[in-house]
Symmetry: C2
Subunit: 79 residues, 2 copies
């Protein structure tokens, strides 16, 4: 089963990558681009028997390794 | 309008972050996790007048700045 974990900085945490991209896009002539945020997506194949188990496992992985919960939040999807 | 650009390494390009995560998850006792791939998501607000324009602009941004097309592919979504 394919699992997707999406990790984003929490609202309010300064996104320096996003700010850098926003400035660079402005420099390239792209106008009207605001609130740029950069996140990670981690996808993998899970051998879990069912969707609920796979999602629970992926949440445990995010809690322990994939996200830094002090500054990041995440969302898990099984497909 | 909210735009999402998702950037992934092309299939066949070694994903070193993915391999590192796979090894680390194994070390934490998560079994049955394979084919870990790591990508980026860039989201932003576009001031473009309609969805088609916003998507075309986002593709131009990805071509010029957001993705390295030698090794990465991307997907644009307007929401």
């Amino acid at each position: 089963m394919k699992i997707r974990v999406e990790v984003f900085l929490k609202p309010g945490v300064l996104d320096v990558q996003g700010k850098a991209i926003e400035a660079a896009l402005g420099g390239l002539g792209f106008q009207g681009v605001t609130d740029v945020r950069v996140g990670r997506v981690i996808t993998f194949d899970s051998a879990a028997a069912d969707k609920a188990t796979a999602e629970a496992e992926a949440k445990a992985m995010a809690d322990r390794l994939l996200a830094n919960q002090v500054i990041e939040s995440y969302r898990v999807e099984a497909a």
